[in-house]
Amino acid sequence: MARALLTGNSAAAWAARLAEVDYVPAFPITPQTEIVETLARWIHTGEIQARMVTMDSEHSMLAAAGAAAATGARVFTATSSQGLVYGFEMLYVLAGLRAPLVLVNVSRALSHPITLEPDHNDVLAARDTGFLQFHAESCQEVLDSILMAYRLAEHERVLLPAIVNLDGFYLSFTREAVEIPEPADVKSFLPGFEPAYPHLSGPAPLALGAAVLDPALYTFFKYQMHHATENALALYPEIAAEFAGRFGRRYGMIEEFMLDDADYVIVMTNSFASMGKAEVKRLRREGKKIGLARLRLIRPFPHREIQRVLRGRKGAAVIDQNISVGKGGILFSEIASALYGLPDRPPALLSFIGGLGGRRFRPEEFDGILARLEAPPESPEEIARPYLLFSDEECRDVGRYFSVASGEEKSHEA
């Protein structure tokens, strides 16, 4: 086992290398490019045997990826943001083909306005497609999740593609110490790809993606996919335990941080959860009984785990780093649906939006969230609304931008 300083992107490339992927269709988009550039370099030096092809768009990239997986190759690809939504149609197609490949998404907020830093409207837009979704907080977790994603995706009782998500910039370009497992150990955890399902290079002719005109058939195939995600949920603990046994790192569907005796729980995902953990630690030092639950597995959605982790608490706040405009936080709704009907659900369950376009959290915001959980709002309006995190200082800054834009105030550069 080697230890190296790796960015999130190179950790993703290392995982593809260790998984001995056969095929990498690619199309560039910031901040994903380093992943495919790294793989391209290794292919060109002969360090890995994979084949890469540069496509004309993410739509084509995903088409090639799905077709290759349907032909019996182990496929890896990566994109980001606009790229993911440009190829969106194919996400449903690939899941419907039951093509078990891994797609890394390096989260970046969606335009307009166009920007570079992360939030999760890109990856969560894919939540209904049939892709499994792992969301990573650290570079190590990126590498490990990709290996686990292949195991789960390729399992004959699952056969669904998987997305592994990491945050652009905050994780993609941050170097952390990463254990790079020995190839031989990876090989015993994730053996070479031998598709058990019928595929296009098999001996018998096969029609894939055939049309159906009977609604019962359509329904049947969609339900099959849903049942496959239920199988994935059942298989996950086994695979995670095997991973922990072999590599010493244990990954739950939810990471439980300082939750043991916590009355109040903050729910977050991805790399910004590190900021949340730092604030939870501070609040703990101040004597507050607070903890953090970080969702790692978004699809299949771990309802039972959510219930286990949150039931009996006094309050939970879901911080969504996304906004379903006109509704609020996407994960808040999902978590609320998992808890509703539990007699001992947290009496206070509040929704906060933050981290959009890479906006950083402020320590005082966590004080405010805790205060609201301790004295929850009572009016129906206040209970249901999302709280949009924004500071007075940011308000003033935005005001200044507007006066510069309208010519009322000169900018510093002028």
Partner: protein, 323 residues
């Protein structure tokens, strides 16, 4: 073209890799052409399809095909072909696929996918030199959705989005876009036009293409009874008339070098072709539109004049139509 492999109809295989009983329209000219195309290609074929009429060739749990099939989406069949070809090559390199079990990868799309939404992925596949076949059944419209105008729709024809009204007496006023020339521009190994009415020419072209590695692209003019408003039994005759009037030149381009594989000795007037289709009826009734008919005729003549002058036509046929 001197035919090597297909000198008489007896040379055409009696095997039927595309059997009867599909759910396409009776008399579909595109299906006739595909049937001949598949016979000439032989076995071990994987079709990669884009949304269109032929997507109904695999209608769960039935298919009239004895070959494999992958339906992708409308824009990306050539990208799907790339994934399949690459995966087959990888599996061969790894010793997981015997050379004899290798497959030919064949994109099959209509002209809507070929000309419009899938053009980018096609041009990219040609650019990458992908070893594949592309069979475009060109029914000159979005036929599967009810015959709306596509970039292949000819000047002066009626479609569902170009209905004939007093203010718009011509139907489609744009020029048909020349897909042959668009494909040819990157000088792929093989580009050809074919017709279901000329099985020997069609089969020989498949044979010639099969000896070349890289993109091999075919456009079959595909009479479409419901869209062209003609009786199903007239499809072969219409396909033949299109060639005999000079409207559908049979040609090939090998690495960009064009040659015409069949030049009619005497051209029939375009009118014969136009008048037998309901989509051109407004050019004849209630009042004859001499100007439009003459324009179409003139464009055809100009095209063939350039051919007989032994100069590759600078301007494709269809662009002349508006004049």
């Amino acid at each position: 073209m001197k035919r090597e492999a297909y000198r008489s109809l007896r040379n055409i295989s009696r095997e039927e890799p595309l059997g009867p009983g599909g759910s396409l329209c009776a008399g579909c000219g595109g299906l006739l052409a595909l049937r001949l195309f598949h016979k000439a290609l032989g076995e071990n074929v994987i079709f990669v399809n884009a949304a269109g009429c032929f997507s109904l060739l695999a209608l769960f749990p039935f298919t009239p095909l004895r070959s494999s099939w992958l339906y992708t989406a409308m824009a990306c069949a050539p990208a799907g072909a790339q994934g399949i070809r690459d995966a087959l090559d990888i599996l061969r390199e790894r010793g997981k696929l015997a050379p004899a079990a290798d497959r030919k990868v064949v994109v099959v799309t209509g002209d809507g996918a070929a000309q419009d939404i899938g053009l980018q992925s096609t041009m990219a596949a040609i650019h990458r030199g992908l070893d594949f076949y592309y069979f475009c059944y060109d029914n000159e419209a979005y036929a599967n959705t009810g015959f709306q105008t596509s970039a292949s729709t000819p000047y002066g024809s009626r479609t569902a989005t170009a209905p004939i009204t007093p203010a718009f007496p011509l139907g489609v006023v744009q020029q048909r876009r020349d897909l042959f020339e668009i494909w040819r521009v990157q000088k792929p190994p093989y580009v050809a036009t074919v017709s279901a009415a000329d099985p020997l020419d069609l089969s020989e072209k498949v044979y010639r293409a099969s000896k070349l590695s890289g993109p091999k692209l075919f456009i079959a003019l595909s009479p479409c009874p419901p869209g062209w408003e003609a009786e199903p039994e007239k499809s072969v005759e219409l396909a033949r008339l299109a060639v005999e009037t000079g409207i559908w030149p049979l040609k090939e381009a090998v690495y960009g070098q064009v040659s015409h594989t069949k030049v009619p000795r005497r051209f029939k007037p375009v009118e014969e072709y136009l008048a037998s289709q309901g989509r051109f009826r407004h050019l004849f009734e209630p009042k004859r539109n001499d100007e439009a008919i003459a324009r179409i005729q003139a464009a055809v003549e100009k095209y063939w004049k350039a051919v007989s002058d032994a100069v590759a036509p600078q301007e494709p046929l269809s662009n002349e139509a508006v004049g």
